[in-house]
C-alpha cells in the first residue's frame, strides 16, 4: 500500500514538472475535466465520457465473445497432436499481422452490412483478442502433465474423458489468463479501430475528435485516463480470479 502511495506521488510530481515546462496541462485541471466529462455531456459529440466508455466496452464485449467462443474450444482441442500439427503453422503466420492491418479487408467483407464500421470494429477486436487468447490457452493445454493422462488411462479413461476430466479442468486457469490477455489486446484494438474506422462514439473516437476540434489537451488526457482505468480494471479483476486456482502455472504478467 505504502509503495502505491509513493508511486502515485511520484507520478503527480513528474506531471507537475512537465506542467511547469509547458508540456502538459496542470494535473488538477485534467482531474476536474475528467470528473466533469464523466457526469456532463461534452458539447461537440453530445455524450458523457461514460457513454463513450460504454460504447467502446460493448464493442469489445461483442468482439471478445466472438473471439473466445472460437479460441477456447479450439485451444483445448490443440491438446490433440493431430489438430496441433494442422493448425499451429497457420496460426503462427497469421498471428504477427497487427489487428489494424485487417481494417481494409474487413471494410470489404462487411460492405453490404447495415452498419459496416461497427462490424469492422468488432471484427478488429475479435482478431486482436483471438490470437493472444488462443496461443495462451493452447500453450497451457499442451502442458497438461503426462502423469495425469497416465492416471486417467489406468482407470479406463476414453479420449473424451481425458478432454473433459483432465485437460479442461487443468487448463481452467490458462483459459482465464487467455481471456485476460485477449481482452487486453481487444481493448487496445477497439481504441485504435475507433480512430480509424470512426462511428460517432467510443473513447478512441472521442480523443480523436477532441484533437481535431483544436487540440483540447485536458479532454484528450481525460479520455486517455478513462481508457487506462478500464484496461487496468479488466486486467486486475481477471488476475484476481486466476490467483484462486492453487494449481495454476506461474504466468508472467
Amino acid at each position: 500500500m505504502k509503495q502505491k502511495i509513493y508511486s502515485a506521488l511520484l507520478f503527480v510530481f513528474l506531471w507537475y514538472l512537465l506542467y511547469f515546462l509547458n508540456v502538459l496541462p496542470a494535473f488538477h485541471v485534467v482531474v476536474v475535466t475528467f470528473l466533469m466529462l464523466v457526469v456532463k455531456a461534452e458539447p461537440v459529440l453530445g455524450k458523457t465520457l461514460l457513454q463513450h466508455a460504454a460504447s467502446s466496452l460493448l464493442r469489445v464485449l461483442a468482439g471478445a465473445i466472438v473471439a473466445f467462443s472460437i479460441s477456447i474450444p479450439l485451444g483445448i482441442l490443440m491438446w490433440f497432436s493431430r489438430i496441433y500439427n494442422l493448425l499451429h503453422p497457420a496460426i503462427e503466420v497469421l498471428r504477427p499481422i497487427p489487428p489494424l492491418a485487417w481494417i481494409p479487408l474487413s471494410y470489404i467483407l462487411f460492405a453490404s452490412f447495415p452498419n459496416p464500421t461497427v462490424f469492422a470494429q468488432i471484427f478488429i477486436v475479435a482478431v486482436g483478442a483471438f490470437f493472444p487468447s488462443f496461443v495462451t490457452i493452447s500453450d497451457y493445454v499442451r502442458g497438461v502433465p503426462q502423469e495425469f493422462i497416465e492416471l486417467a488411462k489406468v482407470f479406463g479413461a476414453k479420449s473424451f474423458d481425458l478432454l473433459t476430466k483432465i485437460v479442461l479442468p487443468y487448463s481452467l486457469p490458462g483459459i482465464i489468463t487467455g481471456v485476460r490477455v485477449g481482452l487486453g489486446v481487444g481493448w487496445m484494438s477497439i481504441i485504435a479501430a475507433e480512430m480509424i474506422a470512426t462511428s460517432g462514439s467510443g473513447l478512441g473516437y472521442f480523443i480523436l475528435v477532441m484533437y481535431e476540434v483544436g487540440g483540447r489537451m485536458p479532454e484528450i488526457i481525460a479520455g486517455m485516463a478513462m481508457i487506462g482505468l478500464i484496461g487496468y480494471s479488466m486486467n486486475t479483476l481477471l488476475f484476481k480470479l486466476e490467483e484462486r486456482f492453487p494449481w495454476r502455472l506461474k504466468s508472467g504478467t
Binding site: F148, L151, F155, K165, P169, Y170
Partner: protein, 247 residues
C-alpha cells in the same frame, strides 16, 4: 495360482531392462518387489498394469491375460487431481471404471473408503490442504474403490518421513486385512518389504531377473527388532549387495 508373471522381457532401444522376469503371487497375497534403483521395477509394474507393452512374456490372472480394468495403480507421487477434493479424487476412478453407478452411489463408496483410511472429516479438503501421508491415503482409496483384482503400488511411501511411513504401513496392513486384495508393492526399502510382505521378490540390477522369491513367515504385527525379522533383512541385503558388487 492367481497372478503369474511369465518370462517378461523389455528393452528401451538398446537398453535391456527386464531380462525374463517370472514369479507368481497367490490371491489375497501381499508381495513386495525390491531391487536397486533403475533396475526396472516401475517398468515391470507398468507392464503388469498394461500401461507398457512387454517385448516378450505374459501376465496372467487365473490363467487369462490380466487387463488394465482388473488392476488399480497407486503412484509414487500421489498424483491427486488438484482441482478435485479428496472425495472427488476417490470418485474419479469410479467415474472412469464404474460408469453404471449413479453419482450418489459413487459418493457413498468413496466416503466409505475415506473413512476406512482414517480420513473422515477431510472429504472436502483439496490436495494442497492435506499432508503428504493423507494425500497418499487418498491415492490408495482411489485405487481400492474400484475393487481391483490386483492392486499395484509403486513406492507409495517413498516420499514420506520415517515416522509417517511406519504409520502408513500399519494402516495399509489394516486395510489389506479387511479387504484381502492381491497386492504387488514395489519398494526400495528392505525393511518395508519384510514388514509388509508375505513374499518378497528380489530383482537383480539391470537387466533385471528374479534373484530369489523369499516367503516371510512371520506373524503380524511384526516386530522390526526381532531376530527373525533382522535375519530376513540380512538375507535380502546380502542378495542385493552380492549382485551389485559383482557388476
Amino acid at each position: 495360482m492367481a497372478l503369474e508373471i511369465r518370462n517378461v522381457k523389455k528393452s528401451f532401444g538398446n537398453l535391456k531392462v527386464l531380462d525374463g522376469v517370472s514369479f507368481e503371487v497367490e490371491k489375497g497375497e501381499f508381495a513386495c518387489i525390491v531391487g536397486e534403483s533403475g533396475c526396472g521395477k516401475t517398468t515391470l509394474l507398468k507392464i503388469v498394469a498394461g500401461l507398457v507393452k512387454a517385448d516378450e512374456g505374459e501376465v496372467l490372472y487365473d490363467g487369462k491375460e490380466l487387463k488394465t480394468e482388473d488392476i488399480a495403480f497407486v503412484f509414487q507421487d500421489d498424483r491427486l487431481l488438484p482441482w478435485r477434493t479428496a472425495l472427488e479424487n476417490v470418485m474419479f476412478s469410479l467415474e472412469m471404471r464404474m460408469r453404471e453407478l449413479d453419482k450418489k452411489r459413487r459418493e457413498e463408496i468413496a466416503r466409505s473408503f475415506l473413512e476406512l483410511a482414517g480420513l473422515k472429516g477431510f472429504e472436502d479438503y483439496y490436495p494442497h490442504q492435506l499432508s503428504g501421508g493423507m494425500r497418499q491415503r487418498v491415492g490408495i482409496c482411489r485405487a481400492l474403490a474400484v475393487n481391483p483384482k490386483v492392486l499395484l503400488m509403486d513406492e507409495p511411501f517413498a516420499s514420506l518421513d520415517a515416522q509417517t511411513r511406519n504409520r502408513m504401513q500399519l494402516e495399509l496392513l489394516k486395510i489389506w486385512e479387511k479387504r484381502r486384495k492381491t497386492i504387488l508393492f514395489v519398494t526400495h526399502s528392505v525393511d518395508e518389504a519384510v514388514f509388509l510382505a508375505d513374499k518378497v521378490v528380489i530383482l537383480s540390477p539391470r537387466p533385471a531377473k528374479v534373484l530369489k522369491v523369499l516367503e516371510i513367515n512371520l506373524e503380524r504385527p511384526r516386530d522390526r527388532t526381532s531376530p527373525e525379522f533382522v535375519g530376513y533383512r540380512r538375507e535380502i541385503m546380502n542378495l542385493l549387495q552380492g549382485t551389485s558388487l559383482s557388476i
